[in-house]
Amino acid sequence: MGLVTSVRDYINRMLQDISGMKVLILDPETVSNVSIVYSQSELLQKEVFLVEMIDSISASNESMSHLKAVYLVRPTSENVQKLRYQLANPRFGEYHLFFSNLLKDTQIHILADSDEHEVVQQVQEFYADFVAGDPYHFTLNMASNHLYMLPAVVDPSGLQRYSDRVVDGIAAVFLALKRRPVIRYQRTSDTAKRIAQETAKLMYQQESGLFDFRRTESSPLLLVIDRRDDPVTPLLNQWTYQAMVHELIGLQDNKVDLRAIGSLPKDQQVEVVLSSEQDAFFKSNMYENFGDIGMNIKRMVDDFQQVAKSNQNIQTVEDMARFVDNYPEYKKMQGNVSKHVTLVTEMSKLVEARKLMLVSQTEQDLACNGGQGAAYEAVTDLLNNESVSDIDRLRLVMLYALRYEKENPVQLMQLFNKLASRSPKYKQGLVQFLLKQAGVEKRTGDLFGNRDLLNIARNMARGLKGVENVYTQHQPLLFQTMESITRGRLRDVDYPFVGDHFQQGRPQEVVIFMVGGTTYEESRCVALQNSTNSGIRFILGGTAVLNSKRFLMDLEEAQRISRSGSHMV
């Protein structure tokens, strides 16, 4: 069962037993959780005629006692305080409280204390505490994502909050799946270790009754890894539909905000929805590369033009009747076609303006193929090229630095200087900071396929065979990790078990949580792996969904804090 179905089931169950007109009250986080899986028209069918945020309930004094209030909020102390006030001054006839994670007993006491009018009919925990964008990909949309890069001493309370939120999210996922996993973590990451240990404590000690599910033959596996083990994937430019939209424009909760581009005519749609559940064309094209998408869109436009022409050819009354019958379908098709055409047009413009085909070729070479000298030449050329934007220059230098960190330090230094001179907004030392965080000493996995003899051989074979598409030749490190799990060869040395956990044989369900964020390229990898029917179902989750802009922002923020910290010392 996918994650989208789980959250939808929670919402259905929440609403089905309550009859009459309802108002659904959400907080800023559950709004994303609900909006991404449930549409407004479906809510209307369930007689939910009003949706409000928990803040705006207190702001108004209108009494609507003919409505029943259904709350779906996170059990944070702020929400409990707001609820206290709202229960003491009730505006609605009945109150049904659903919390998206575990409630503490003290919170229940506080709520019960303020419910003088006894309007609360039920208090339940429905664990929909994650954003399920695709069936096998979830995110927690966390704001201060950069904290995982900093040592604990810098901001202990912030890191504790970060870790708590992650543990809550992972717990919610497993409660929704009704499983209790065996937990492994990446040895080299302190944050991953901490999160793994706290999750184990929650599932096996603090709430062991709640997590005591029916045992299947093999326990599922939770693997907590760190983004810094694969810093290459978020830095690369993407060429498959979903990943490309996120990289070039930005995809938030399956919505695209075209205002960021700023070149649209006034009457065009400013925000569009890209959801694989609701859009059949997107579902079949989200993992295709740019060239194939272009062809498929052209086909879709041709089909649509056929329909439009036949619609204009109305001669008999029968034709008229048929036109009115098919009008909703026609309108929907028109909206869909215009949406995809707009997106692809905008992305083509950006590719053209930023010379991304040139830049991306070099990026892919840096990520996949060898040859330090040639790489240096290519990067220098692009740094000198005027039409390459600052962020692309930064990415190229970073990729080069990650790959050739130890080879030819002189040339590396030259690249740093050139970058600093070319990009006025470049924050000094950002590349060095990245190397300190995610350099070759810090990484566990074989990112460039040049450590393990087997990997080197594989790379050579691939180079000889040639690749289908130069722009999509990169495989994220996650692919190798998943292969190791499938073969049962994930090394204990690199990914130890928590406590005295142990796994017999291969797991059948694996949840991989990446602290620091996932990318759509990795979610594509997981979806393709799942479709090969290897007997193992993979689910991927992270603290955020990264594109290169977001990853660089987190790096800059972490660098700023660590600098100010070192000044204080």
Binding site: S39, F49, E118, V272, V273, D279, E318
Partner: protein
């Protein structure tokens, strides 16, 4: 899909808190009786008070929580829901009537056709009435939670009405098609039957005469069929009109307008916009030319009065 019910724990605490509060007010005597009677009233739902949308609400009484009657527009929406249910029932009947009317019979099935016509008219009337009522749900005035609620109720009912109209249209068009097939078939059958039946007769004149009579009868039947088809077409056009009106209200599924978070954002932003417009309007009014003229006139009047007084005093 795991869930955990905390209601029992919650209720236990709530009762504990209530009993902790009650002995405190024992020393005052009066409030205890009020609270008891309040809870009694609540359990009997006996404290009803008609509530309009602009009422400040139960903030005045803090002992018994009065449950108010819903506002007037809820009656409209309930009536529309009731109509929709009636339409659904009638559609079932109509399907049966259609199949009966289409069955090939020897006599003319005018009775069945009347039934079909009547049912179709009733359903179209119900739909039209419901649609008019639907417009009553539209709100005037600025955006507020209540108006949002009404808009959403309106949307949901519009979606239901639209799907019902479409179903009716589809049923009617299949009925039409089948009728037309039958019409052609029947004329053909008539002629064939005549050919076969009368061929045995040797009298050609009689045969011809018989055939002309049959032809005329056949024409009469087809003229009637034409009329019926026109009537059905008429109701199809009516429905098309209703659908056009409704489609303005219905949400397109899968678009940005169908997203919950988009709708929440829009409400807050439109409220802000409205507030800004109000402020601007206030400012323009204050700085308006009219206001300036009025002020100048007032000052001039005052000066004249002062001069008048001075004139009287001095002279």
């Amino acid at each position: 899909m795991a869930t955990r019910n905390r209601t029992t724990v919650y209720r236990k605490h709530r009762d504990a808190c209530k009993s902790a509060r009650a002995p405190l007010s024992d020393s005052f005597g009066g409030p205890v009786i009020e609270m008891v009677s309040g809870s009694f009233a609540r359990s009997n739902h006996s404290s009803y008070a008609p509530l309009s949308t602009n009422d400040p609400g139960p903030s005045s009484s803090d002992d018994a929580f009065t449950i108010g009657l819903p506002p007037a527009w809820v009656d409209d929406s309930e009536e529309i829901t009731f109509n929709i249910q009636k339409v659904r029932d009638k559609m079932g009947e109509l399907a049966k009537a259609h199949s009966k009317a289409l069955m090939p019979t020897f006599g003319d099935n005018r009775g069945d056709q009347r039934v079909v016509e009547m049912l179709t008219h009733e359903i179209t009337d119900l739909l039209r009435k419901s649609e008019k009522r639907l417009h009553n749900l539209s709100t005037r005035g600025g955006p507020s939670q209540e108006s949002n609620l009404r808009k959403n109720v309106q949307r949901s009912l519009a979606t239901d009405l639209q799907s019902l109209s479409m179903e009716l249209r589809r049923k009617q068009s299949t009925y039409l098609k089948r009728l037309q097939q039958q019409k052609e078939g029947q004329d053909g059958v008539d002629l064939e039957f005549n050919m076969n039946g009368k061929m045995s007769r040797l009298d050609e004149d009689e045969e011809l005469g018989g055939m002309t009579v049959k032809l005329k009868e056949g024409q009469h039947v087809s003229a009637e069929r034409e009329r019926e088809i026109q009537q059905v077409l008429g109701s199809v056009n009516d429905l098309a009109q209703i659908m056009k009106d409704l489609s303005a209200l219905v949400i397109d599924q899968g678009t940005i307008v169908d997203r919950i978070d988009y709708n929440i954002q829009n409400v807050s932003s439109s409220v802000e916009e409205g507030y800004k417009q109000l402020q601007k309007a206030e400012r323009t009014q204050r700085e308006g030319a009219m206001v300036k003229c009025a002020t100048i006139l007032l000052i001039l009047c005052l000066i004249m009065i002062v001069l008048l007084i001075l004139k009287n005093v001095l002279f």
